[in-house]
Each structure stands twice: as C-alpha cells, then as structure tokens.
C-alpha cells in the first residue's frame, strides 16, 4: 500500500465523516421541501386527509431517524449507514402511497369538482422524494466504504502494535 493512501486512511481516525453526515442532512432538507409541498393539495375527503396526515406523521419519524443517522455516520458507525439505506428505500416507496394516489384524483369541494394534486405539483413532490432518497443512498455508500476502510486500518494498526 502506498504512503499517500495510508495517510489518507489514518486521517480518518481524527476527521469525522462529514461527507456522509452532510448528505443525510441534505436528505432531511429535501424531505422538508416535500412536506411543505404536499400542503398545497386540495384534500376533499377523509381518504386523502388521512393519507396526507399519515405522510406528515411519518415525516417526523423520518427526520428524527435521518438526523440520528447523520450523527452516527459522522463517527463511522456502519449500522447507521444501513439505516440510511432503509430510509432511502422508504422514501421511494412513499411516492406510491400519497403522491401517486392523489395525482389526478378528483374530489368534490362545495359542489365543485377539484383535482387533489395537479401534475406540476406531483412532479415537484416526486423529485423531492427522489432527491432525498438519492442523498441517503450516496451518504450511506460513502459511509459504508469509509467505515470499512477505517476498521481495516485500525485492525492493521492493532496488529502492528501487537
């Protein structure tokens, strides 16, 4: 192994994984954008009200979990990288829960026919969820690679010391 690479590995002992934690925070930011955007929907029935409400409730859980992950991956804890992957998969899955069902659906509000979610809004919220998921995946992959590299480096230091 060349020296440059060893030093780069060694630096991780003292430098936090801010790349991964940054992506986790970015994922939260896109989630917030999503969260704000779905308020624009014209929910005219219990069905969509419950869907939006559920999505917002999940947002709270998501933000908490993503924030914990960002702190965990910062310190090269590999478990939090896996958590980020799970959160990313759920972000993708969410597309099919609320936005897809609401897109183009028509409800009656004060005897008027109203579209719950227009295509423009639909595109926007889907993009937010996809970006949020992408950030989680990138951060998680970087986290896994770095955590493994650091663990390997620490093990080799240990064996040198022994």
């Amino acid at each position: 192994m060349n020296e440059e690479k060893t030093i780069r590995l060694d630096r991780m002992r003292y430098m936090k994984n801010t790349l991964s934690s940054g992506f986790a925070l970015l994922a939260i930011l896109f989630d917030v954008c999503f969260f704000i955007s779905i308020y624009e929907s014209d929910v005219g029935s219990w069905y969509y009200t419950i869907l939006v409400g559920g999505s917002i409730l999940y947002n709270l859980i998501f933000m908490l979990a993503a924030f914990l992950s960002s702190e965990g991956v910062k310190n090269y804890k590999i478990g939090y990288s896996y958590l980020m992957i799970v959160l990313g998969i759920i972000q993708i899955a969410r597309i099919f829960v609320y936005p897809v069902r609401a897109h183009g659906a028509v409800v009656t509000i004060q005897e008027q026919a109203v579209t719950v979610m227009e295509t423009a809004q639909f595109t926007r919220v889907v993009i937010y969820l996809v970006l949020s998921a992408a950030c989680l995946f990138i951060g998680a992959i970087a986290g896994i690679i770095r955590s493994r590299a650091l663990a390997g480096h620490l093990a080799s230091l240990d064996s040198q010391a022994a």
């Binding site: 440059e4 030093i7 060694d10 630096r11 002992r13 003292y14």
Partner: protein, 362 residues
Amino acid sequence: MAQLNIQHVDKIYDNNVQAVFDFNLDVKDGELIVLVGPSGCGKSTTLRMIAGLEDISAGHLLLDGKDITQAPAKDRDMAMVFQNYALYGHMTIYENMAFSLTLRKENPNVIHKKVLAAAEILGLTSQLNKKPSQLSGGQRQRVAMGRSIVRNPKVFLFDEPLSNLDAKLRGATRREILLLHKRLQATMLYVTHDQTEALTLADRIVCMSMGHVQQVGTPIELYDAPANKFVASFIGLPPMNFFDVTVREGMLEGKGFTVPLTEEEKGVLLPYAGREIDLGVRPEDVAADGDIAMSVFSNENLGMNTLVHGHIGHSGAASNKISAKLRGWCDYKDGDSVGVSFSRKHFFDKESGNAIRKGEKA
C-alpha cells in the same frame, strides 16, 4: 538556522509612554532566552515587537541577517504562545492543531503528518479526538504549543505561558518546555516575571526594569555576579539582604555591627575607602558560625533549611534587617541571638547602584 538580532530597539506608545529603551540582543540559533523583570517593565512589549504585533519605534530587527523591522507578523516565521491558550472550543484537539495549516490550504496529508508528529512530541496522541474542555490546563497549554510546533517556525515566542496554571502544574509544564526545547533545538524567547522560571529554563537571561535592560547573561552569571542592585534583588529567592555600610580599614562598618573583609575584598574596595556603599548578602550565604550578632524575630522551618528573619546591629535601622537561610532544622525563639558570618558578599555603589568589581574605578 534561526538567528535573531535585536539592535537599538525602542518602543514609544501613541500616548508618548516609552516602554522600551535601547534594547540590544543577539540570539543565537537554538538558544532559549528568558526575558525576566517585574510587571510593567516592557517584557511583553518587546516580545510583541519581535512578533510583529506592535510597531518598532526605532531600531532594527534581523532574522537570519534579513531586516524584518517592517515585515508584517504573518511573514515573520515566528509563533507566539499566549498566556490564555486561545483554543477553539468547538474543534477537537486535532483540528485545533491543524487549524493554522488548514487556513493556509496545505495538503491535508502533510498537515496530518505534522499534527501527529507534534502530538507525539507533546504526549497528546491519545487526546486528539477530544475537545479542549475535556483537557486539563496543562494539556491545553501543550495544545497551544502544538499549534506553534506544526507551523515549524524559526522562532518560538512565549508570553508568560505558565501563569494560568497552579503551582504544581507549573513545575511540570516548565520541565516539558525545557524538554521541548531540547527536542526541537529551536530558538525560543520566553517572557516571565518569575525569577525561578528564568533560572531553570534559560540559556541566557535578559533582566529588565522600567524598559531598560539591566543585565544579559547565563543564569549563573546573574546569580553570582549581578551587574547592579536591581538584578541582585530580583534574582534569587528569598531576595538578597542589603546593608548600608562604610568601607574602613580591613572591614565594613555598619550601623552597630562590623563585617570583616578578605584580602581580595579589600583589594576590590580599595578605591572606596571611607565611603558608603551597599553590602549585599544572599540569605543562603549567611551561616550560623560567625561573630556578627543577629537577633531573631521569626523562625520558619522549610525542612532542609530554616529561614530566620531578624536584624543585626542597631535594631532601629531599617537597613539592618536580615533574612538568613540556615542549614538544617533550627528552633530559634523570638529574641534569641545568633552569631552569623557572610560567606559571600556583593558590593554596590551607593549612587549608581552598579556592582563594584575588581579593578574598576570608583
């Protein structure tokens, strides 16, 4: 490698206070110079001028032969360690030590090597991931030094780095600075008001008073042969005793006591026959085996020594007070009388305060 020449440097502050008068010093490569003197004598001002944090009013400053009198602080290749460590609380020790290099956009791998090397020298390797608040005062001081070491400056400047530490840590950190100096072989200027630090650390001491350099020399030179009364009283603890005496035939006559002179001392004092001078005697040069009657008023046992305070001759005269550091454990009571002798004497001219040396004209 790093040679510093300070030539005729003055400092006059904007309010017309002159803090430093005609400071001259040639610092050799790898030398540890201690500037010592009472508070307000211009030590910090001198150091700050060298660092470039203060303008030099007159004179020249040369680093390795290059005139840097006007150079801005950042171009001087010097690192200053302050009394308050000025660490960044939100950064780890590693980041604190790397900070100045990161600012200069050095290669992170190079920074890493330097930080680890400095941490190794300072014994901070296991602390690198901690925050300053998790470290002790002494460790924080070492981090502050580490920040200078990574920059690999030509000259290290310390302004009273130990004064925030408690007495025990001060001793330990002092030894560490000495060790650091040996390992780095670096040129260092160290400011302190503590004569003990000066004596223990310095290759050479610069003793200052009221902006003037009083004496430059090795610790033993300042202790053994102080140039004047100020240096004599400042260096050494407890401080030197001074007596008003008149030079008589073969002896000194004080107020109600006489002190015999050796042949050599007679020769030195020949030009002062019949005149008043100051006699200086260090407490540790007083022995309880002579003819000078000392009457005791307090007795402090220090273990190996006993510090005895009292007076000789007439009790009324202020200049007759004496402190003696006697060997062993003594138990003198208030009012006891002890016969003492002076194993070493220092003589000072009454008017100039300068030491009277052999072969010098009065």
